[in-house]
Symmetry: D2
């Protein structure tokens, strides 16, 4: 059973390869009557768009998303609503240079899925990573933008930002400034150092890893013990992003060094006094802010020479050219937000099945 | 849609509360013809059994597992085989003192699911955590033992051990000794220090966190991109264990500080030269050892005085008595193994749907 | 992927063989706060119990159902409520004579699943049909009884009765009398003829087929186009009962001979004028009574001599002894009700995910 | 949880409305390495295309299907193979006159889903039935054509034909001629009478029902007891076609009048002597031909005057104009084949998860 669907009630199925006709998503299970503003949808896509240099690659993808079904503008209105039927979203590829990948046809790139896709499927679309390309995440962002508009009806909001890049860690979390630098970084001084670090590493033909933090304001009660605990589903969604190698919630890996008396969040009549839990207790949101962090690996496409093998298992050296980013950060930021939104939208609807209207 | 089922093809549904009639698991989708040895099943249960003191609580649970369906001993044989029908496993509760929880009926214990279960369901079985109790994981271990016997037919093996407890970290990984100390610790010297640490913290009425590492020998090809990447499903399974607050694969959170040229695992004709990937590339196992780590929070039941509220939202202080462990480690070890086994068993069967016999 | 789970939100997994330890069901997804009366649960089981002679076999199954988890009696109350956690139901086997099946170990019974279970699984529990036994349906009835109590909170009610048996068809549908004869037959005269027919056929060592009609009062709006149309899911549920060979809704197979102008149900301000649709339009309930009929095949276990083969594919003759019914009617009646209830309970909860509380 | 996905391992999600941008299907779970010939795909679409008059409407839909993802032509080959990634299929609408539906905006058409879609979703795309339109089935045919190419690798073949139309029943089943008349009718004489009947009823502005029979050659072993019995899943799939009001397998509703000794299919060393079972025993295919029949209701869009209500629940009369067929037959024929193929493809892959390669 393949794995291209995410969610159980708000269900998103994505399709498409980096260098084929396009990519897309079909959302099944979005409730009817939600206002779906195409402009807001496109705005989310634009946040994922590569910038003009810096950490992002010079490849320009307009990423125009089209809504093919599932919305309706009632006669006399100028607003579109979801109808409860599947919402089909498509992003057609325009700027795909398959030619530039011809040299990689017979070689496995280190750190990429070339070798595993072939091992699994016995056949491989070698052009730009095919289905394993980061381009696939554009479909997630499109679907996540629909989830965003659904969540807004319940006051649920999600925000991601960079807390580490190339070894530089933030010392403060000033969320007011995250849109004023291209790393979505909440610490202006750190952002400057990150710029410097990126510039240096670009020269060396190398790439950088980092850490993204995601927070969500969310009412208490979401999450489905025991296997679909909210943190388990969030970890699933975030870890399904190609570059992510670790996920933690609340105090995360720090809990290993803590005492129970330190880690427990005391409760007083105004609520929780601290938030080591990261907003989730026993798999269910507790009304505190949900706090997650993901470890983002350096992009594996580097122009430095690497050791690898070809299809005949002969040793070769490889330098990956093409138009590549220095780090998955910042473009992974809206993808992280999308995965958290898709998870929360699913759990919002899942929870509704046990709340009887009228009760 | 509730969340008490794990897996999509090898599917496990658990049921039961800590202080009810019992707990159990129903496995649907186990292939027929697998030898199911009840003694091996019980042996796994026994690994999770509390010890005589130390980090584990003095509560003694025999945890006798009964196989109620799904196996058959052909006439003339003395071995039982799975039949392809659902395998129902039950562990009846014997040593459950609900009385000792009566004082907690009206108080929310910090760090526990008391407050969130009530927020979600509007009703709560207050006895020993009910469904949120660690006791629920016994059913996972039972189901995981069935998965173990299935995986053995394909040479897949899983092993977990402690790499940190109460701030004490292992310096070596000598797997030969993990069964010779009660922390399943691969470093004898560290194990001794852990003993000392536990003794001290027990006196203080406090508890400890730690880190568990899980490794698996697994053939290449398992995992279902893009959402059900192997690491995403493993993270889901591990993060669904109550005490786990973080999951990482391979180099994990260290990738944040690494360069692409450091993190990429070079390939030569003998295979991968390093294993920062932790055995998974683009969501598919690559044939290297799968390496995972989880952060385990300190057990929230402490006898130190804590600040909380009661059902009327009045401030109270609370000291949690009862028979509790100092750390989820080591009893969480077989639970981690079980979740990894259940995930791999599911992915083994999922992968088989795309391999055509005869091809 | 095996198929022992029914439903997507109200999900029932059954387990067990006819001559093993017992059978059971785990319900995941039942909302919390539903009163679950064990006496009402047992009452449903008793309706399926074999009678003293007549169309039913003399085998006496007490079919005592036990609730192992998922309910809670709050302190000070004497009523049990569902808690939102899995409800585990078990019926332990007591009166199972496996010995009487020893003669059938090597022979395939015509009309039974002996040959197909072996073809599929390569191993077969030959005792009394194993998992393919009608006994498995007791678990469905137990789960259906839980669904009944859930549906009652929304005024949904289901009723099944016999409209044909052994060629004798009812001429009226007087539902007041269906509990006053052992065929659940709404036509007293037809019921008498059925008695006579059963007596005759019993002497001949043969068995009878028939038709069951199921009606349900159900609000408009349930059903999930396009693949999970309400009639499609009901057909799935009913056709999954072993003896059922056909399912129809409303006018059913008669529509083949009708004109559009005859078949369309006109609408007036008071509602639908007729009900050829059987209460469902375009896959969604329309508020009219849901009307279904199923064709029930004669029980294949007959004492007449039949032609078959043994495990070595040698021709043999076979006479099936043991304690068997003359017809699946009436014992299939509560099973049909159960499958319709499980389907409607699932669709009630599925529908709730798109109704926003407060709207 | 919405219902626009069919299948569990070979999973098809359809999207689109009759008068929107287009319709489509995403297939997730198709194994890699299957040759996918776009010409064969289009050939299936063409079988569903409306004819030049007769039982079909004059609306001309080119129904050009585009394959947007999931296939790859290896360098140097001219054949496309599936890659194991999602196959996205789109059929863009071209000849959709939404204007002609404007008069129906405020009126509920009898026999249509107008009233139930509004009841369920609170919003309705009134143009040509929206999602409830028969046009949606074009996406099923496209997906079914992919399933056909998968099934061919295992020798599984499906064929549907008309056995009754407007009260005229076939007396023979000469499958050689089903493509030589426009009803896919296996009885030349009956086909002529059907022509006559259609001509007459067209004049009267009325429509006709009928019966379609579907047969499949299928190896033994497919089907997943107990809830996903093969006949249950086939019934689900077929009953999910808008016009279908009944489904039967093998002897179907005739079993109600049969004795066990008549209905049981004797077995001899060459196999089953008869096929009342319709190729399925206890939910698993037995190697005999699978035989199914569905009752097809007359198309509800008739030009005769009908009684209905408008959005204000006021009595109105309605005559449905537009370009409509006289019967869902023959266009439903390839749709029935598609649903049976999708079901069998899913069960073929589901079965593979329990066959261990090498055993």
């Amino acid at each position: 059973m393949a794995g291209n669907t995410f969610g159980k009630v708000f269900r998103v199925t994505t399709w498409g390869e980096s260098h084929g006709t396009g990519i897309g998503a079909v959302i099944d299970g979005c409730p009817p009557g939600i206002i779906l503003d195409p402009i807001l949808l496109q705005a989310e896509m634009d946040r994922r768009r590569p910038g003009q240099g810096g950490a992002s690659s010079p490849r320009k993808e307009p990423d125009q998303v089209e809504i093919l079904s599932g919305i309706f503008t009632p006669p006399g209105e100028d607003v579109s609503y979801t109808t409860g039927t599947p919402i089909s979203l498509a992003i057609y590829n325009k700027d795909a240079h398959s030619k530039s990948y011809d040299t990689l046809r017979d070689i496995f790139r280190p750190g990429h899925g070339d070798v595993t896709y072939l091992a699994k499927y016995g056949i491989r679309d070698h052009r730009g990573g095919g289905r394993a390309s980061a381009r696939e995440t554009a479909a997630r962002v499109a679907a996540g933008a629909v989830a965003k508009q659904l969540l807004a009806t319940h006051g649920i909001d999600v925000c991601a930002y960079t807390v580490a890049l190339g070894g530089i860690k933030v010392r403060e979390r000033n969320l007011d400034i995250i849109n004023s630098n291209r790393f979505f970084c909440p610490d202006a001084e750190a952002a400057e150092k990150m710029e410097e670090r990126v510039r240096l590493v670009r020269k060396e033909g190398d790439t950088l890893g980092g850490i993204v933090e995601i927070i969500a304001d969310c009412p208490a009660g979401l999450g489905e013990p025991v296997f679909d605990k909210l943190e388990a589903e969030l970890a699933h969604g975030l870890m399904s992003i190609g570059a992510v190698k670790g996920v933690e919630v609340g105090a995360g890996f720090q809990v290993a060094d803590m005492l129970g008396s330190e880690n427990n969040d005391p409760i007083n009549p105004d609520g929780f006094v601290s938030n080591n839990a990261g907003g989730i207790l026993a798999g269910i949101s507790n009304g505190s802010q949900i706090v997650l962090r993901v470890a983002v690996k350096p992009i594996p496409s580097i122009s430095k020479e690497q050791q690898s093998v070809n299809l005949h298992n002969e040793a070769v050296t490889i330098q990956v050219g093409g138009r590549h980013d220095i780090s998955a950060i910042p473009r992974i930021i809206p993808v992280c937000e999308a995965m958290v939104r898709l998870t929360l939208a699913d759990h919002l609807l899942r929870h509704m099945a046990i709340i009887f209207p009228g009760e």
